[in-house]
Amino acid sequence: MAKVVYVLGEDISTDVIYPGRYMATVLPTETPAFAFADDPDFSGKLKSGALPAGSVLVAGANFGCGSSREQAVSCLVGHDLTIVAPGFARIFLQNAINLGLRVVTCPAIEASEGDELEIGVDAVVNKTSGKSFPVIPLPESRQAIIDAGGLIPFTRARLVGAGH
């Protein structure tokens, strides 16, 4: 069971998730400090450490649109968040898969802050409202990267396997 800690609208850009002025910070250990930096309430909650591990951010369509900056993913990984949205922007989704951010594509998701969700392979069940919403699974080619533990181990295995 995971708690919805924030609900956002459509087209949340990487400028909102990780403002450009912090882009000189690249280390995944340091980027979480600037997650949603221009949203003082939410960034305050994230930094307070009060949110339970595996908390869920529910967003509208096209989450992560805009820049390719990977900090927008690593900062969320650092806070152990799961993102549930009807859809994600392409580069953000790929970065999430590569870095192991949990992202769930759930076209009809309905949830409010405080709701408890059960996130399964086929559906997200909102335990608070009692409704169930189907999940669109990742293509096999993408899932393979997640199963390997991210793109770095996936690439490493390829390199070693190829006997370079």
């Binding site: 400028d15 450009g20 882009m23 649109c65 805009g66 900056r69 990977e70 580069i91 790929q94 590569n98």
Partner: protein, 430 residues
């Protein structure tokens, strides 16, 4: 069934006879570009090799390009140290396509690549920047990737698990009216498709208007295709592509143009007649919030910005200079102009554009990404309004979440700088 340009490029790059939409392929990369985020790519690249016993070597240093543009010159010691780290890596790995902070060959990555002939029709180009879509203007399949994905490319020379995207055909006919151009066209396309309308798809541009359009204009279209969510924008290579590469980029080797089959399968076709198009403005805080200029004309603006990988080329500056010649930027409005590259800067200097801008009261800045993404210069104050020829207007984009950014063409920006309010550049309309 016939094939789209991107299907043909991906088939060639993956060593297949043909590929279908949805196929998973592993294309070889012809050019891998990064900017300052190479600092992160380097970290990830070295991590790949950890524990393998293998030496961390680039698959092909001559296919790697690194261009400093996002924070030039460095705004902080942190950035300067990142840039130093990248310089050391560039030297150690013998990367020749490296463009440091320089007044001769420096500039924005998406201007440098075409200008120096690094991009060829039919190539696979990846970049750690979402506006890598720009290079579709030369008939390449060019798309943005993250830093870790780039690290993988540096190691393997290919992009793993690429799903062949579907293509939308954008058919553009007619002649632009005076004061209207490629920026207005792409804003119209984005407004129509919405910010996610082309997600995971390619926009392939066709028609009389595209045939007659310069490479500079095509770069505007492909640059901003990503604002409709597109993986890539592409103008199939043609006579203009060859002219640009030969005459402007100095390319002498053989070129192979890739064109779609007449019966290529497009997911859908969008038809646009530009002969009646009016100037378009993308209003805060999404790029698809596009309105005809008449709906926002008169809005007071604090800062006007002309430049960026979208509209910082010579023809953009010429448009602005024509309007600003002998006129003055309105009191209470500041105007910042940043050419897309050192080459553009020098040419604008030689033609007198920069003098025109300065006499009008504009500040001419060094080439680079400048104020576009609010990193180190030209930030907005609380509640301020900017009108800009750049490509994004997301909340906080120019460094302040309480500010507003409107996007427009260079002509609209210049005409508005003179009046201090959003102004229609067409004669007799303001």
């Amino acid at each position: 069934m016939g094939k789209t340009v991107v299907q043909k490029i991906l088939a060639r790059a993956s060593g297949r006879n043909e590929v279908e939409v949805g196929d998973v392929v592993e294309p070889r990369v012809d050019l891998a570009m990064s900017h300052e985020n190479a600092a992160l790519v380097i970290n990830q690249f070295l991590e790949i090799y950890e524990g393998t016993g293998l030496a961390a070597e680039l698959w092909d240093p001559d296919r790697v390009a690194i261009i400093f543009d996002h924070r030039v010159p460095a705004e902080s010691s942190k950035t300067a140290t990142n840039q130093k780290k990248i310089r050391d890596f560039v030297a150690a790995h013998r990367i020749r396509r490296f463009h440091d902070i320089r007044g001769d060959v420096g500039g924005i990555c998406h201007q440098i690549l075409p200008e120096h002939g690094y991009v060829r029709p039919g190539a696979v180009v990846v970049g750690t920047d979402s506006h890598t879509t720009s290079h579709g203007a030369l008939g390449a399949f060019a798309f943005g990737i993250g830093a870790t994905e780039m690290a993988s490319v540096w190691a393997l020379g290919s992009v793993l698990n690429v799903q062949v995207p579907a293509t939308l055909r954008v058919q553009v006919e007619g002649t632009f009216p005076e004061g209207v151009g490629p920026k207005d066209l792409i804003l119209e396309v984005i407004g129509t498709l919405t910010a996610e309308g082309a997600n995971f798809r390619v926009l392939e541009f066709h028609g009389e208007t595209i045939r007659n359009m310069s490479t500079s204009g095509r770069l505007v279209l492909c640059n901003m295709s990503v604002e409709a969510g597109a993986t890539a924008g592409i103008v199939p290579g043609d006579d203009e592509t060859v002219r640009y590469l030969r005459e402007e980029a100095g390319v002498t080797d053989e070129l192979h143009l890739v064109t779609p089959d007449a019966d290529a399968a497009y997911e859908r076709t969008i038809e646009i007649d530009v002969s009646q198009l009016e100037p378009r403005i993308a209003c805060p805080h999404t790029v698809d919030n596009v309105k005809p200029i008449l709906e926002v004309a008169g809005r007071k603006i604090d800062q006007v910005v002309i430049g960026s990988c979208t509209n910082g080329r010579l023809d953009d500056l010429a448009d602005a200079a024509r309007i600003l010649e002998g006129r003055t930027v309105a009191t209470g409005t500041r105007m910042l102009i940043f050419p897309a590259s050192a080459k553009v800067y020098q040419e604008a200097l030689a033609r007198g554009y920069l003098a025109t801008f300065m006499k009008a009261g504009a500040v001419v800045m060094n080439p680079g990404c400048g104020p576009c993404l609010g990193i180190h210069e030209g930030a907005l104050g609380d509640g301020e309004v900017a009108l800009s020829t750049t490509n994004r207007n997301f909340k906080g984009r120019m460094g302040n979440p309480t500010a507003e950014v409107y996007l427009c063409s260079p002509a609209v920006a210049a005409a508005s700088a003179v009046t201090g309010v959003i102004t229609d550049p067409r004669v007799g309309r303001s």
